[in-house]
C-alpha cells in the first residue's frame, strides 16, 4: 500500500509540473505578453518599446527560467535601470533591493498580482473558491443521493418498467449540457413568459446571502448533468451485483428482497460509483464555469473566465494551478479509495 501510494504521489507531482508548465507556456506566449505590455503602457507603443518593457519586467528570459521563477525554485529576476534603482520580481515597492527574498514563487506563497481585480491573486482565489465551495457542496448534496437512489432503484430489477423509465431519464439528463438545462430552467421558472417566477435567474446575490430562491436553479443545473452519468454507473454496477451467486443464495435462503438489496447488494454495488463520483469533479469544474457565467455567480469559474478574457496572466495561472491540483487530487483519492474499498485489491 505504501509503495502504491508513493508511486501515485510521484506521478501526481510529475503531472502537476508538466501541466502547470504547459499552462505557463500557453499563457505567456509572445502575443499575450505583447498585449500585456500594450495594456500596461499604451496601445500605440512601438515594437521596440514593447521589447524594452518586457525586458524591464522580467519577461524576456528563457521560458524554463521564467517558469522556475514563477514556481519559486529559481531566484526572481532583477533589473537595474539607468538611475541605479533596482526593481525585481521579489522586490515590493519601497523595499530596499538587498532586503528582498531571493525566491518568490507559488511555492513560497507568492501568487502574483491580479490586474483585473487589483488585488493579490491568492486573495482573489481564496474568496472566489469559498463561494464556489458552497455551490459545489449544495450540488453534491443534491446530486449524489438522488443519483445513487435512481441507480439502485433502476438496477434492482433489471428490465422492469421502473428500470426503463429511470434509465430513459438518466439518458435524457446526460444529453442535456448545463448551458441547455440552465436556459430551459431560467425560461420555465424565472422568466415572464411562463409567469411562474418561482426562482431568480441571476445568482449574484447568493454571494452575500444564499437563499432557496437564488441558489436552486444553479445547483439544479449542475447537478442534473451529473445525475444521469452517476445513476447509469450505479445501475450497471447494481445490476451486475444482483446477478451474482451470493445474492441468489441469500434469496434462496429466504431473505426478503428488501433485505437482500439493502444488506447484501448495496455495499458491493457502491464501489464502482465511488470512483465515478470522484472522477466527476473535473467535469463539475466545467459545469461550474458554465453555470457561474450563465447565472452571473461570481465564484471561481466566473473568475477563470474573467482572467482568460482579460489576459490577466498571473490570475489565470493561479486559477489553473488550483483547477489542476483539484483534478489530480480527486484522481488520487479515487484510486486510493478504490483500492481501499475493494478487498480484492486491498489484500493483494
Amino acid at each position: 500500500m505504501i509503495r502504491f501510494l508513493t508511486k501515485r504521489l510521484v506521478t501526481l507531482i510529475l503531472s502537476a509540473l508538466c501541466i502547470t508548465f504547459a499552462v505557463f507556456f500557453l499563457t505567456t506566449l509572445p502575443p499575450n505578453l505583447e498585449k500585456l505590455a500594450k495594456s500596461e503602457v499604451g496601445t500605440r507603443i512601438t515594437d521596440a518599446e514593447v521589447a524594452s518593457w518586457l525586458e524591464k519586467n522580467g519577461y524576456d528570459g528563457p521560458i524554463l527560467a521564467r517558469y522556475g521563477e514563477w514556481l519559486g525554485v529559481v531566484p526572481g529576476w532583477t533589473y537595474t535601470d539607468e538611475n541605479g534603482t533596482t526593481r525585481g520580481r521579489c522586490i515590493d515597492a519601497g523595499m530596499p533591493a538587498d532586503e528582498a527574498p531571493r525566491f518568490c514563487g507559488v511555492l513560497q506563497g507568492d501568487w502574483g498580482f491580479s490586474k483585473v481585480f487589483r488585488e493579490e491573486v491568492s486573495n482573489v482565489i481564496s474568496t472566489r473558491l469559498g463561494l464556489t465551495g458552497w455551490l459545489m457542496l449544495c450540488v453534491m448534496l443534491v446530486m449524489v443521493p438522488s443519483a445513487l437512489l435512481i441507480g439502485i432503484l433502476a438496477g434492482m430489477r433489471e428490465g422492469s418498467r421502473l428500470d426503463r423509465s429511470l434509465s430513459t431519464f438518466s439518458i435524457a439528463t446526460t444529453a442535456t449540457p448545463e448551458y441547455v438545462s440552465g436556459v430551459l430552467f431560467i425560461t420555465i421558472f424565472a422568466s415572464s413568459v411562463t409567469g411562474l417566477k418561482w426562482f431568480k435567474g441571476i445568482a449574484t446575490s447568493a454571494a452575500d446571502d444564499i437563499t432557496f430562491e437564488n441558489f436552486t436553479l444553479p445547483v439544479l443545473t449542475i447537478a442534473l448533468y451529473g445525475i444521469g452519468y452517476i445513476a447509469r454507473m450505479t445501475r450497471a454496477s447494481m445490476a451486475e451485483v444482483m446477478t451474482a451467486q451470493y445474492i441468489r443464495t441469500a434469496r434462496l435462503k429466504g431473505v426478503s428482497f428488501r433485505n437482500v438489496v439493502i444488506r447484501h447488494a448495496l455495499r458491493n454495488a457502491l464501489i464502482a460509483p465511488f470512483t465515478v463520483i470522484m472522477l466527476q469533479f473535473p467535469w463539475l469544474l466545467n459545469g461550474v464555469v458554465i453555470v457561474e457565467t450563465l447565472f452571473n455567480y461570481k465564484g471561481f469559474g466566473w473568475t477563470l473566465v474573467q482572467a482568460a478574457g482579460n489576459n490577466d496572466i498571473e490570475l489565470l495561472l493561479g486559477c489553473s494551478v488550483v483547477a489542476v491540483v483539484v483534478v489530480l487530487i480527486t484522481q488520487l483519492i479515487s484510486d486510493v479509495g478504490y483500492a481501499y474499498l475493494n478487498p480484492r485489491i486491498r489484500i493483494s
Binding site: 506566449l29 509572445p30 444529453a175 449540457p177 431560467i186 469544474l285 450563465l294 477563470l304 483547477a323
Partner: protein, 402 residues
C-alpha cells in the same frame, strides 16, 4: 398578414421539413424491409429505443443535408422591425415570393431564429462526426500498440494521455482557441507559397494529428496484403497519394487544386476538439486490446506466424468493434456538447455563425424577456445529443445479444 397561432406554426414547421420526412420514410422503409440482411444496423430496428435514437439522429442529418430547402430566410439577413419578435410574426414588407413569416420568431439582431437553427445543424454536423473520427484514428493508432506491446511505450503514452485528461477542458479551450495563439510562432518559408506557414501551436497540432489517419490506413493495407506486394503497393499507394493530398491541404493549406483547405478558426476549433477526445479513445482501445490479447484466437494467429500489426488491426480490432461503435455514437454527442461549450463562451467561431452554441450565448442575455432565440437552438442541441445517446444505447443492447 396575420400572426400565426400555435397550431399554425406547428403545421408550417412540419411542412417546411418535407424533404426530411420523405428521406426519413424512405430510409426506414428500406431498412425495415431488408433488416435481416443488414447485420448490426438491421438489428437496430428490433429495439424501440435504438430506432427512436436513429430516427432523431437521421432527422438532423437530413436537416443538415437539405438545409437550403428547409430554411425560410437567409440566416444572416436582418430585416428591420423584426427584432425579438415572437414566433409566427409576419415579415414586415415581405418581398414577392419570399416566405411571409418568422416561424420561430426573430433574434436580437432581427434574424430568423428558425433558419439559423436549421443552418446551425449543418455547421454542427459537419464538424462533430469528422472530429470524432479523427480522434478515433489517433486513439486507435496509438492505443493498439500501447495495449498490445505494453512496457515503456505503454507507460509513456498513458502518462501523456492522463496529462491531457487531467487538464480542465474549459481551461484548455480558453488557452488553445484564441486568436492570439494563431499568431504565435515563427513563420516558416515553404517552397509552395509566398506567405509561408506559421508554426503556431494549432498548426503544429494539426500537422501532427492529421498524419494519423494516413498512418492508420497505410499500416492497415500493408499488414493485410503483405503477402501480395502488387496489391499492397496499389492500396498503400492510393492511400498515400490521396491522404497526402488532403493532408497538405488541411494542415499546410498547400493543396495545389484548392479543394482541401480549412479556415484558421475552424482548424483551431477542430484540432482542440480532437486533442481533447483522443486520450479517452486511447484509454478505451488500450483497455479493450489488453482484454482481447489473451484470447485463444490471438494465440492461434501468433502460432500461424502473423505479424503484430496484422493481429492488432485484423484480429483484435474487428473483435472490439461493438464497444467502439457504441462509444463512437456517444462521443459524437459529447463532441457536439463540447462544440456548444466553445460557442457558448464565444471561442473560435465567427460571431455571425449560426451554430447552436453561439446562438444560445447570444440569446441568453435577454432570456427573461425573449427566451425563444436561445430555447430553439438549446432544444435542437439537446435532441441531437439525446438521439445519439439513445442510438448508442440501442446498439449496445443489440450488440450484447449475439
Amino acid at each position: 398578414m396575420e400572426p400565426l397561432g400555435f397550431l399554425d406554426i406547428t403545421a408550417a414547421l412540419a411542412g417546411r421539413f418535407w424533404p426530411v420526412w420523405i428521406a426519413l420514410a424512405a430510409t426506414f422503409a428500406l431498412s425495415i424491409l431488408y433488416k435481416r440482411r443488414l447485420g448490426l444496423y438491421g438489428k437496430l430496428f428490433d429495439s424501440p429505443v435504438g430506432m427512436t435514437g436513429f430516427g432523431i439522429v437521421m432527422f438532423w442529418v437530413f436537416t443538415a443535408l437539405f438545409a437550403n430547402l428547409i430554411a425560410t430566410h437567409d440566416p444572416l439577413t436582418q430585416i428591420s422591425g423584426m427584432k425579438n419578435v415572437l414566433p409566427g410574426t409576419p415579415v414586415r414588407g415581405a418581398a414577392e415570393g419570399a416566405y411571409g413569416h418568422y416561424l420561430l420568431g426573430g433574434d436580437n439582431l432581427a434574424r430568423d431564429v428558425f433558419s439559423r437553427m436549421v443552418m446551425g445543424a449543418r455547421s454542427v454536423l459537419s464538424i462533430a462526426p469528422a472530429a470524432t473520427a479523427f480522434a478515433f484514428m489517433v486513439g486507435i493508432t496509438l492505443g493498439l500498440p500501447a495495449g498490445y506491446f505494453g512496457g515503456k511505450l505503454d507507460t509513456g503514452l498513458s502518462f501523456v494521455a492522463n496529462l491531457v485528461l487531467a487538464f480542465p477542458v474549459i481551461l484548455l479551450f480558453y488557452l488553445l482557441v484564441t486568436p492570439e495563439i494563431q499568431l504565435a510562432g515563427p513563420l516558416v518559408t515553404m517552397p509552395w507559397s509566398t506567405e509561408g506557414w506559421r508554426a503556431s501551436i494549432p498548426n503544429i497540432m494539426a500537422a501532427v494529428l492529421f498524419v494519423f489517419p494516413i498512418i492508420f490506413f497505410s499500416i492497415l493495407w500493408n499488414s493485410r496484403y503483405f503477402t501480395s506486394p502488387a496489391r499492397r503497393n496499389l492500396y498503400v499507394g492510393i492511400t498515400l497519394l490521396f491522404g497526402l493530398w488532403v493532408y497538405a491541404g488541411l494542415a499546410f493549406d498547400a493543396d495545389p487544386t484548392g479543394i482541401w483547405s480549412m479556415d484558421p478558426n475552424l482548424l483551431n476549433v477542430f484540432v482542440s476538439v480532437v486533442f481533447v477526445n483522443a486520450p479517452t479513445v486511447f484509454r478505451i482501445i488500450r483497455g479493450l486490446v489488453m482484454d482481447i490479447k489473451s484470447r485463444d484466437y490471438v494465440a492461434a494467429g501468433m502460432t500461424r506466424g502473423e505479424g503484430p500489426w496484422y493481429i492488432m488491426l485484423w484480429e483484435i480490432l474487428p473483435n472490439a468493434r461493438g464497444p467502439l461503435i457504441v462509444d463512437f455514437c456517444l462521443r459524437i454527442g459529447y463532441t457536439t456538447i463540447l462544440l456548444g461549450t466553445l460557442g457558448f463562451f464565444g471561442l473560435g467561431v465567427a460571431p455571425e455563425s449560426p451554430d447552436w452554441g453561439s446562438t444560445i450565448n447570444q440569446g441568453r442575455r435577454l432570456l427573461s424577456q425573449f427566451p425563444h432565440p436561445a430555447i430553439v437552438p438549446a432544444l435542437a442541441l439537446m435532441s441531437l445529443v439525446l438521439g445519439l445517446n439513445l442510438l448508442a444505447d440501442g446498439l449496445r443492447e443489440e450488440s450484447l445479444k449475439d
